[in-house]
């Protein structure tokens, strides 16, 4: 990859991380939707682009359904939170937050010279991990990036994605987890994707 591709990859990671934040009008606006549409176009994901514009495009009542869906999927829902966005929920025996895998993830950050700052705490939150990948991409540390994906991100992300795809009611998050999946999948030298599921 070229230098500029690495920087672009950082943008993509950050964009994906941003997209998984709670839907608020202060970032989820015209600019955002035109960016994601543009992005899906470039990828050639026409069906996804269409699904998004159908559910969000013209109608004015799109924000609240998205907020409810975000709460339902990632915060609280009946009968249970569908997909808590934390690695250790999928990796620890007892499905708790801040399990051993979260501690290992934090250790990885530190060994690479990044310390979680201030009051951010749970180190294996999806957005946290994507932001970290953005930093590695920015520094063009491809080896670390691949290693982090392999050992910390991919072990849980597919399970998280599966739940969102199975239970999600809004196309937005289904598209999002597929995008994240696409950009974090391991690739072999010949350009084929490895089969990990």
């Amino acid at each position: 990859m070229t230098q500029s591709a690495s920087i672009s990859m950082a943008d993509i990671y950050r964009f994906l991380s941003q997209s998984m934040q709670y839907p608020n009008p202060d970032w989820m606006d015209e600019t955002y939707f035109s960016a994601i549409n543009n992005f899906l176009d470039e990828l050639g994901w026409q069906d996804e682009a269409e699904a998004l514009s159908k559910s969000i495009g013209q109608g004015k009542e799109w924000l609240e359904p998205l907020q409810i869906e975000h709460t339902r999927l990632f915060v609280n829902a009946v009968p249970s939170v569908i997909a808590p966005p934390y690695g250790s929920v999928y990796l620890s025996d007892d499905g708790m937050l801040y399990g051993p895998s979260a501690v290992k993830t934090k250790q990885f950050y530190r060994e690479r010279g990044f310390a979680p700052s201030g009051e951010y705490d749970i180190p294996d939150h999806l957005s946290f991990e994507l932001e970290f990948l953005a930093l590695l991409a920015e520094d063009d540390r491809q080896e670390d990036e691949e290693l982090f994906l392999k050992e910390h991100f991919r072990p849980w992300f597919p399970k998280f994605r599966e739940r969102v795809l199975a239970e999600g009611r809004h196309p937005f998050y289904r598209v999002l987890v597929n995008l994240i999946d696409f950009f974090t999948r391991e690739e072999l030298e010949n350009g084929f994707e490895s089969d990990e599921t």
Binding site: I68, P79, Y86, Y98, Y120, E131
Partner: protein
Amino acid sequence: MALNLTRRKFLQTASLAAASAAMSGCFAKKADASAPFVRKPFTAPGSFAGTTTAVGGVCEMCFWRCQLVGKVRDGQLVKLEGNPKSIDNGQSICARGNAGVKLLYDPDRLKFPMKNVGKRGAPEWKRISWEEALDECASKLKAVVDKYGPQGIAIFPHGSSAKYPMTFFEHVVGTPNNSEASFFQCRGIRDTAYVATLDVAPGENVDMPNAKAIFLVGCHFGENVHVSHLKRYLKGLENGAKLIVVDPRFSASAAKADIWVKIKPGTDTAFLLAIMNYLVKEGKYDKKYVEEHGQGFDQFTKAIAHATPEWAAKICDIPAKQIKEVADMLAANAPSVSIHPGRHVSWHGNDFQRERSLACLTGLLGAIGVKGGFVAGKGPKSGKAGWPKPMAEHAEKYALHKLAKVHPYSPPGTPTDLIRNAAVTGKPYPIKGFVAWGQNPIQTIPDQALTIKMLQQMDFVLVCDVMPTDITMYADILLPESSYLERYDHIQKGTQWNFADPHQQFITARMPLVSPTAADHERKDSVWIVNELAKRMGYGEHIKVQSGEDMTDKILAGAEPPLSIEQLRKEDGIHVQPGVDPYGKALDVYFFSEDIAAAGFPGAPTYIPVPEPPKGFARLVYGRAPVHTFNRTMNNAWLHNEMPTNPVWLNDESAKKMGLKDGDSVMLVNQDGVKSRTSTVVKVTPGIRKDTVYMAHGYGTMNPLMTVGAGAGVDDQSLISKSAVDPETGAHGMRNNFVKFIKDGKELSIPA
């Protein structure tokens, strides 16, 4: 999706630059917000490198409030331990105390303010901002006050963090309708009965380590775990105290007893009257103490003269000989006997009289102010901080029990049943705003259907809690609170646990062991939340403390010598100073109370029979489990693992007749046809009476958001559909409900 395009190929496409530029526009404006990472060279840690000890923890996995330290690594709490400086629990904490770590990191914890966009009872949650949540709560509560008066709001608080909101609604907004579960469904009866008899609320102040005999009615220590209290009890037994346990069940305490009195539930007062009558008749009481400190003794002895051991034996279904044996054992060891006042005492609706009897028995034995007797330690002084009381008079005027002239011995607040009835009937005035703070009234109050009816008729329901307990399902707005490990809010005071040791006092304040803020949630503490509500409701001028920290500092400043959070930290979290000798203080004993008689109740302790089980049913009795605190801990993964369900105890001979084996799965149905929502297993044992079944309280959570605890075991409260109300206090009695079993869809009668 285009099949052939891989990430790498995409990154090489020429059009990427444009797409990427569009994206960076989306988060550029967020870039200045605090970044999640800072660059920091790595230094390899040793095994304990970076582990710090945070002091000032005060446990609230139950309400005994042991003193803690937290072991913290990289901002993460890794372990809780007793504070080595503690003269109360010392280095010991119980299973629940240890499991506080799991509460802190429970993924089901409430994280953000939420609005119910579904229905009460069938909620659909939408995360909202604090701004929106507070605005909505304030405007809805204010609307209730404007339309119905302050008394139109009811508050159901529990725990340290609920004190600040409780006093706000009671004294500043001005509603009397405050129902504390710790009073009306627990110990309030004990407190007012002892005040009426000895002029002091008793706490659990019996000097068990130095007693020659310990007398427990229903207390099941070992299953009920409060660390320093257990230390006192066990030290007493270690020192050779005789133990008498009165319980229909072979409890953990009964297993250690010299005499186990397998009493018929509801008849304890008859038993106590017979003991006292026997002691009087035999002249085996403390004549000197009674002469010097007894009030109305002659009227008392006359009133209980009918209560012979033979009379009580029939009522209590125990041998008359055993009653005499117990009385003789108490007399032989008097005055060094610990007549335990109990803690959860809201049993049958005749409980004020039982608690009066216990206080009288204590006086009769002269077991007050002496080694082994009823002795309160003297803790240090502290200051006060919180709300002023501009509307206290208004609240007093609208108190339902005062308007109706009932329950003159009510503990502070208003009897729950009166609040609920007023809300449901609109009489004598409507109650249309509901606030639950740390309490789960679905599981604390009998008759769930009526509680739900009360909730459904409210104009507005606000719930603030740490976990999504059952009551949260009925909230319109649900607020997430910091846990006891993340906030300032409680001053704990006391003495060394054993009065035989040099006299000392301690004072400590709850301080956060880990940061209350983090990126994955927006929890706040109650002082902040209530202050924000107060400002929006127009009560901002009354705010006296700016934060939990400020309140704590102000209370500490009133200590002698004056203390501060900073000073406490310097002293490893606990200030210890020389104490005073607690012995030697005698108390007057109102054996017969003119006041109680004037209020229209029996002036001398009196046995009032309770309803009997209908044929085929057994009485449902509940109690504590050592690894749980009611429903509060049900979602804790460690504790759930220790005791995932609450087996229902059934007499072995009954089980045989019913064709049930130990471990069989059953559901329960009560006398009103109310069925348990879930099932549990049968524990077949000779250690329970045939007319009684027993289970631990707090199981069977209905809220599916409690993913560990939901549906585990049976909710005993769901089967307590018939409330009894103690006439003197207005507190609930919850052991007058009767159950049958259901196995494979078939109802099974329980043979008498």
